[in-house]
Amino acid sequence: MNDTAAHAAHDGTGDLAPGQQGESPKSFGAGLGSYIIGLALAVGLTLASFWAAQTNLIYAPGVSVALVALGIAQMGIHLVFFLHITTAPDNTNNALALAFGILIVFFIVVGSLFIMGHMNHMSVPMGQQMDMQP
């Protein structure tokens, strides 16, 4: 690395790798804070998920929605506090790649459910199909 590149990597114009907390290594204690906050939030959300799945306090058909929301929140916590993906300028590349990944995941999961759900709805039930065969 020549000195201009070294300079660029430390004056705020450089990028960060995913998982990297800052440009120069912080002290052990400063870095630990992020992991402890992340662990506390993740434990809280996990307990909330298991509670929501077993309680009768939530309107029953709404439980799956609550569980999905809690799950997505926990994934966000992991991304921010464990993988250190942020929306800061030094993280633009990482965040954009993540956004594209989420888009594809959304297409695959929601698209499959949508198409297969409609297909099940529109197709002739198994019993009647048997009757129609010669």
Binding site: M1, N2, T4, A5, H7, A8, A9, T13, G14, D15, L16, A17, P18, G19, Q20, P25, S27, F28, G31, L32, Y35, G38, L39, A42, V43, T46, S49, F50, A52, A53, Q54, V63, S64, L67, V68, L70, G71, Q74, M75, H78, L79, F82, L83, N93, N94, A97, L98, F100, G101, I104, V105, I108, V109, G111, S112, L113, M116
Partner: protein
């Protein structure tokens, strides 16, 4: 050759820099622009591995879609609510979450070049990962023993494919973790070993994210319906 050298030296001399606006200087010296050169290897390697992880997550999403579509296709066999033990899943989740946390501690220790703490934290990471894997194998054995193996119904095929694929990733991760401990021990905190380790830590945290989706979609929602 000598002409271009002179031009470069002129451009980077303080007198010339002062004539330009600060904004221009910054953008021309940023990595990938002008004299900034390519990004440091740490960033290139990390970014490349991040792209791999995202494609791995896209692959998992196909397994998730398959499971979501087939979760009701039990072919007269046992359903999710009859098979899954939430208590067991709770312990598995705790193991993997704490394992991810220990991996974070190990990352901090590697950055500070603490030899002993790196090894201890990595050992704890591996032990918790192994506990998770043992519980999962035990669960699979129990299911197969009661006739609910992957060949029983489409629901169980997709369940074993999805959760088994995650388990295979954890197994691969444990082998990688053992390799990293050995390399830190034998070769110390060499730059290439550290880069390799940071890729491993990304991999391990990503596996925990996928497990969050599994215990939500497969176990918790499965037991409700």
């Amino acid at each position: 050759m000598s002409t271009s050298d002179t031009v470069l030296r002129l451009a980077s001399s303080p007198a010339v820099l002062e004539l330009r606006s600060p904004r221009t200087v910054e953008s021309e010296e940023a990595t990938g622009h002008g004299e900034g050169g390519p990004a440091p290897k740490r960033i290139v390697v990390g970014y490349g591995f991040w792209i791999f992880l995202l494609s791995d997550i896209v692959m998992f999403s196909a397994f998730f879609a398959t499971y979501a579509v087939l979760s009701g296709a039990t072919a007269g066999g046992p359903t999710a609510a009859q098979l899954f033990d939430i208590r067991n899943v709770q312990i598995e989740t705790a193991c993997l979450l704490l394992s991810s946390f220990c991996c974070g501690i190990a990352s901090l220790a590697v950055e500070q070049r603490y030899h002993r703490l790196t090894q201890v934290a990595l050992f704890a990471t591996g032990l918790l990962g192994l506990a998770f894997l043992t519980l999962e194998v035990h669960e699979f054995q129990g299911l197969i023993a009661q006739g609910a193996g992957p060949s029983r119904s489409a629901f169980l095929s997709s369940f074993f494919a999805l959760v088994g694929c995650h388990g295979a990733h954890v197994t691969a991760g444990l082998l990688w973790l053992g390799t990293m401990m050995a390399q830190f021990y034998a070769k110390g905190f060499r730059a290439d070993i550290c880069r390799r380790y940071f890729c491993f830590s990304l991999f391990w945290h990503a596996l925990d994210i996928i497990w969050v989706a599994i215990f939500t979609v497969v176990y918790l929602i499965g037991v409700r319906t």
